[in-house]
Symmetry: C2
Subunit: 252 residues, 2 copies
DNA sequence: TACGGTCTGTGCGGTATCGTACACAACTTA
DNA sequence: TAAGTTGTGTACGATACCGCACAGACCGTA
């Protein structure tokens, strides 16, 4: 049971990079939870109750405008952690965190986490490292929003999501993608139609299957490669401090 | 001389909020420098040599795409600090920092600053607090980029810049504003023309004078108010930890 | 005062995206 | 199997913004 726990834990790279002795302190507080599609971890303005380390789930951070319009500002998978604003002064979070791909993750109470953050240097370092990566990703997305077409952005988004999955099928409606990218649903329908005609993807009601990754890469803007490089960089840094060297990322 | 120095220093709110004894340690390393319009503090990918605390200068953080297209991702005035990625793992900065309004600021060597950051808890806390505010601002701008018209964004931008100035005149070409907002220069010409016709601003070759703030506020999107609230929140938190209670922000 | 460079104004066609409306298909539940 | 819900396809005008081209105005400098 303890083994299972550890192996599952490893599926979050950030958590896996915590030093062994410090991890032992965290362990009793980590709670494995379901993160079902569409559930909202926190709303903009909420006071954080928990911190989450996704394992198989993917979470989208969105900024919501007064009229309800939304924009994804970053995505978080098993390379990251949700609720970092807790470490930065406890002020309210500026975004909504909504589960974009259902799965699992570890949850830990905010109070405990804050205590450990302040006590444990490696945990602090890892968090900061992640925040840096998050900022990079946000910059990228902001610029991509401004300068690239819906089709290009859709490709980027599909690829980044795919990189965090073990399968090549996304459970995802066009409506949902549209709200992430901050565009009309019809815009996604059209772009997705093009990708389907090109033979790069296929889909049916809420399921998108990627058939040709490299095809998507050719249509995507530069932003996918840049974002990927950022993640790789983060992960390799994590890997060098990993508490158990043999763990990979393969297990379903 | 020492008095002058201190008073100048106070013009950066973040620096002013450092505890007195810790500030004494930093003081010998702080270097008052000119920050002329258009100068670039660092480029995307640079290894940081310095950290800057603007006093009268305003700096724009921009993401630059491969084809040279740019987008402002955040603005930094005397409420903030440039080079925070130094604290977060030393990886390269994801953006370009370019001086948008000429003025002065304090500079400190990266090595010294990093040492102090790791040693001094209040400095760490303040930096994190600022990073949080920066992230909020970035989210906001990303969403505003996506959903609001050039005119609305121009109003927001003018207002936010104005809030950081003591005068109501911006030294600024339309071309430069366009590159900040990531739009064509002609788009700015048109929007600025509207604002001029409405009697809210006036301008001549590289000088923009704001005549009617509240007019701009009515045309601006919600984003200005939200951003302003974020800054106010940051500043009030800084104020409560300020090392010298009597210092304001009035001196030219 | 003349010159030259920079900044601003304007026009025009092209296009991506929006807003709206509606039909149809796929899946769910009764 | 039928009804109802939800997701997708399509069409069409409106419009915001782009790309380009060029004219004119401003301002520093010679």
């Amino acid at each position: 049971m303890s083994i299972t726990f550890l192996q599952e834990t490893i599926h979050n790279h950030l958590l896996a990079a915590v030093q062994a002795d410090e991890f032992e302190r965290l362990k009793p507080h980590l709670e494995l939870v379901q993160m079902p599609l569409g559930s909202i971890l926190y709303e903009s303005g909420d006071r954080l109750q928990h911190i989450w380390f996704p394992t198989t789930a993917i979470v989208s951070l969105q900024y919501i405008m007064e009229d309800g319009a939304s924009t994804e500002i970053a995505g978080v998978g098993n390379e990251g952690v949700l609720g970092v604003s807790l470490f930065m002064g406890g002020a309210a979070t500026p975004s909504r965190a909504i589960v974009q791909t259902g799965g699992c993750g570890y949850r830990i109470k905010a109070g405990v986490m804050l205590q450990e953050f302040n006590r444990v240097e490696s945990l602090q370092g890892l968090s900061l490292l992640y925040i840096q990566a998050l900022i990079s990703q946000m910059s990228l997305i902001a610029a991509c929003n401004r300068h690239h077409s819906i089709e290009q952005q859709l490709c980027r988004w599909l690829l980044l999501t795919l990189d965090r999955l073990t399968s090549n099928e996304l459970i995802m409606t066009q409506e949902l993608i549209a709200s992430m990218l901050g565009v009309r649903r019809e815009g996604i329908t059209e772009a997705a139609g093009n990708l389907k005609n090109a033979g790069f993807i296929n889909y049916r009601r809420g399921h998108i299957t990627v058939l040709d990754r490299s095809g998507l890469e050719t249509l995507s803007c530069e932003c996918y490669q840049v974002a990927k490089k950022g993640f790789d960089c983060l992960l390799s840094t994590c890997a060098t401090t990993r508490h158990s060297p043999s763990q990979g990322y393969g297990k379903k």
